[in-house]
């Protein structure tokens, strides 16, 4: 146990040296690090949000609204299919076609035509890949109900696929929206099947971000329905082809618009905040792509003198009269805008509409002052803890205690180095983990030293006692530390954010402490023994 072949010594020194090298960047500022030669590591430890201040937001995709959209568009598709697809097939008579809760129901008048109706409706389904088995399943389930009713539902596989694709699309759009705000290195990641984590360091008040991400930003253009007075519609008599929408205009709380969206926001290629040339009020200008521009031109040409409504997330933000045909494909939205709200809307339009609403289900924000305070307090606690433990060990084990303390210092350096290398995140509980490691790291050495003392008491010679001490203690050390490691691993997987940081420092701390106790301290002891050949062991 006390024999160290040359290569082992070199390896130990190498690992220790590397540890120092990787930990070193943390002592320097970023500007200084930029001047370092390329082969030297420069990554520092990441500070968690609770130490640098920032916002952690967990969003959940509202898959139900995606489901609802699919079902609503299915109603229209079924109507078309049963009517014979504009003459392709004979018409099948039906009544009571509508969406009831989660189910689209339709009653087929002629009982003999039910199965054909079911076939036509089944053909409206779109295949969804079942990723577990690789097979495909339709996204709708068509079943026969009572009394010649056919019921159509969305399949669970489809729901999952909707969630997944909604998340993928949303991440891109969220990233674009946040990038516009110019925040420092945001983290945007999927979590689980239908959630997105957004972490923005340095942001003390995430309200703007939440507002920006919380809006679906679905922009559609509809013609205003002037066939009946708005008051009648408000009393409940809404024509089937139209819908009553709230509006931003205080003079006109509701607007009746046709359901059909003439042009959608996906046709926009650009949007900017600007000012109205005549009134100087903030406006949002936009430009369509060629297809959108053509549609816009046709629409405006056919409807000069009529009003069209610009609808954002089912709210009318503006409903101007078409004065002349707009052929250039660009226009502006004027309404109740402040510079900020106009700017926000242009950001939303540029980034694109979210496929489904995102709801904040968890939020943790730490102000930068608290973050700095926490770091300071953590440092103080760590230093004081370290000094106390070092003193205590020195008093308890004299010279060997000194060896153990040297190993402790190296232990901490290796810990910091590993954290820097992994790009791990240091949180406040993580600092607690480091302090805890200081307290627990000595355990390995204590086990060895106590064993050595016992062997000395039993009468062994100095060298033999040390040999036996190391030999016997290994099994115990492994057993004992593995259990704490198991706990740390579980913590890592079940915890989030700060707790994860604690698990990481604890786990790495355990491993480095076992390493230093078994290599570094042993090496120092071995070298000292060989040089001094003492009669008594100061332990």
């Amino acid at each position: 146990m006390l024999q160290f072949e040359k290569w082992k010594v070199i390896l130990i020194l190498l690992v220790s040296g590397l540890g120092v090298l990787f930990a070193l960047p943390n002592l320097f500022s970023d500007e200084e690090l930029a001047h370092w030669p390329g082969f030297l590591p420069t990554s520092k430890i990441n500070l968690g949000l609770d130490l640098q201040g920032g916002a952690h937001l967990l969003f959940e995709v509202d898959v139900n609204s995606v489901k609802k959209e699919r079902l609503e568009s299915l109603v229209d598709d079924i109507r078309l299919a049963l009517n014979g697809n504009r003459g392709e097939k004979p018409r099948i008579g039906y009544t009571n076609l509508g969406l009831v809760g989660d189910v689209v129901k339709v009653k087929i008048i002629n009982p003999d035509k039910v199965s054909e109706a079911m076939t036509r409706i089944k053909n409206l389904g779109v295949p969804v890949k079942n990723t577990v088995f690789g097979t495909s399943v339709a996204d709708i389930a068509v079943t026969k109900g009572k009394n010649q009713f056919i019921e159509v539902r969305v399949t669970p596989e489809a729901l999952k696929a909707m969630g997944r694709s909604a998340v993928d699309q949303s991440i891109e759009i969220v990233r674009r929206r946040i990038d516009e705000l110019g925040t420092r290195e945001p983290t945007i990641q999927r979590q689980g099947a239908d959630r997105i984590i957004v972490q923005v360091p340095g942001v003390g008040d995430p309200q703007r971000i939440i507002d920006l991400i919380g809006q679906t930003a679905k922009l559609t253009f509809h013609m205003v329905d002037t066939s009946i007075p708005v008051q009648e519609a408000m009393n409940g008599r809404v024509p089937p082809r139209s819908m009553l929408l709230p509006s931003e205009n205080p003079n006109e709380p509701f607007v009746l618009v046709f359901r059909r969206a003439e042009i959608g926001g996906e046709r926009l290629v650009n949007s900017q905040q600007g000012f109205d040339q005549r009134t100087g009020q903030p406006i949002v200008s936009f430009r369509f792509d060629s297809a959108g521009a053509r549609r816009f031109a046709d629409l405006s040409r056919e409807n000069v003198g009529r009003r069209f409504a610009i609808v954002l997330d089912n709210k009318v933000i503006s409903a101007p009269v078409i004065r002349e045909p707009i052929l250039g494909g660009s226009g502006q939205i004027s309404g109740n805008f402040t510079i900020q709200s106009a700017s926000d809307l242009s950001i939303l339009l540029r980034a694109g509409a979210l496929p489904a609403p995102l709801n904040v289900i968890e939020q943790r924000t730490v102000g930068p002052e608290l973050g700095a305070d926490s770091i300071a307090e953590g440092e103080v606690a760590a230093v004081i803890g370290f000094v106390i433990v070092v003193t205590f060990i020195l008093l308890s084990y004299s010279l060997f205690g000194l060896f153990a303390n040297l190993a402790l210092v190296l232990n901490l350096i290796l810990l910091m180095g590993t954290l820097s290398l992994l790009g791990a995140t240091l949180t406040l509980p993580g600092i607690a983990g480091i302090v805890l490691t200081v307290g627990m790291a000595v355990d390995a050495n204590v086990l060895i030293f106590e064993r050595i003392k016992e062997e000395l008491r039993a009468g062994k010679s100095s060298i033999n006692a040390v040999e036996a001490g190391y030999a016997r203690a290994l099994g115990t050390i492994m057993d004992a530390n593995i259990t704490t490691l198991i706990a740390a691993v579980i913590l890592f997987f079940m915890g989030s954010g700060p707790v994860k940081g604690f698990a990481v420092t604890l786990a790495i701390g355990i491993m480095t402490s076992v390493f230093t106790a078994f290599t570094v301290t042993r090496l120092i002891v071995a070298m000292w023994l060989r040089r001094r050949r003492p009669q008594t062991i100061p332990v």
């Binding site: 309200q207 106390i388 308890s396 084990y397 355990d443 016997r472 259990t483 079940m494």
Partner: protein
């Protein structure tokens, strides 16, 4: 030689003979903890109950809790807890979860409510305390996430204890495993009892502390068991009770010193580490005490009761090859 010697050599305390007393003490503490848990309940934080937590630093030197209480009380936000936290001008405000929607699918509404809560509180506070209120921390946990965290926390602790059981069974005999796990469960229950009686905030970081205690307590127990196993092989003729006593006494020095160093480090954290992790540190300190106590007074005597086997001859060959 060493200047400090806490445990004299060749100590011989009759730990095992104290076991009846220890079991009585532990038994009553366990029962008391369970009773307290059901009677008083734990002061669950928003991690498990959902709700909004706002930590502020008032511009005034000392926070006027009464003023804050009356200001926020008028907002009609339901149950609001207000307490000092750390420095004299720092206040912790916890607003209970707003109207949980009947259908959790509409979680969106509950979240919008939480945002509205924050805005209302901010407006009210700046009106009564003036500008310059610093919002140190804002945490919102919705009903879905809090439900999940409760599940995750419980699963994690149960899983940890279970994994320990398997590991000890694998390395030692089943009697060791049983003793270790009972000691662990005892530690967890006593920690929960401590939180029931002090009504300190019980949130995710306390679960983290409990898991760490599980790891640490097992750590301790294994060291003693390792010595017991070694002695079982060495002293085949010794009375089991005496052998257990010997093992505990032999490892006592290490146990005390390691617990002490860990406690010293934790005390430093408790005193200087700031208010945010104080609950966590407190749980850890208590856990170290309980864990050390249980390794000595519970885990080992249980070996006596479960009558661990004395004949290690078959096992000895395999195991002795491992430890050398």
């Amino acid at each position: 030689m060493a200047l400090l010697k806490l445990i004299p050599d060749n100590l011989s305390i009759g730990f095992v003979s104290l076991r009846k007393l220890a079991f009585l003490l532990s038994g009553s503490l366990v029962v008391a903890s369970i009773v307290l848990f059901f009677a008083e309940g734990l002061n669950f934080g928003i991690d498990f109950r959902g709700g909004t937590l706002i930590e502020i630093a008032t511009p005034q030197e000392t926070a006027d809790i009464g003023l804050i209480r009356s200001t926020l009380g008028n907002l009609g936000l339901g149950d609001i807890k207000i307490q000092e936290f750390g420095k004299p001008n720092e206040v912790l405000i916890v607003v209970e979860q707003q109207a949980v929607p009947k259908d959790l699918k509409d979680a969106g509404d509950s979240e919008k409510n939480a945002q509205a809560v924050i805005t209302e509180v901010k407006v009210a506070l700046s009106a009564s305390l003036g500008d310059g209120v610093i919002y140190n921390r804002i945490e919102v946990v919705g009903p879905k996430v809090s439900g999940e965290l409760v599940q995750q926390g419980t699963t994690a602790v149960v899983l940890a204890v279970f994994l320990m059981l398997i590991y000890i069974w694998f390395r030692f005999e089943w009697q060791f495993s049983l003793g270790a796990v009972l000691a662990l469960v005892h530690d967890v229950i006593l920690t929960i009892g401590m939180f029931a009686i002090t009504q300190m905030e019980f949130n995710l970081s306390i679960i983290a502390a409990i898991l760490t205690i599980v790891g640490y307590s097992m750590n301790d127990t294994v060291v003693v068991y390792d010595r017991v196993r070694e002695n079982l092989r060495k002293y085949k003729k010794m009375e089991l009770a005496d052998l257990l006593d010997l093992s505990i006494n032999e490892t006592l020095s290490r146990t005390v010193i390691t617990s002490l160093t860990t406690l010293l480090a934790l005390f430093s954290l408790y005193l200087f580490g700031g208010a945010v992790i104080r609950g966590f540190t407190f749980a850890m300190i208590w856990g170290i005490f309980v864990g050390t106590y249980s390794s000595i007074f519970i885990a080992s005597p249980l070996l006596l009761i479960t009558d661990v086997k004395r004949d290690w001859s078959g096992y000895g060959a395999k195991a002795s090859a491992k430890s050398s």
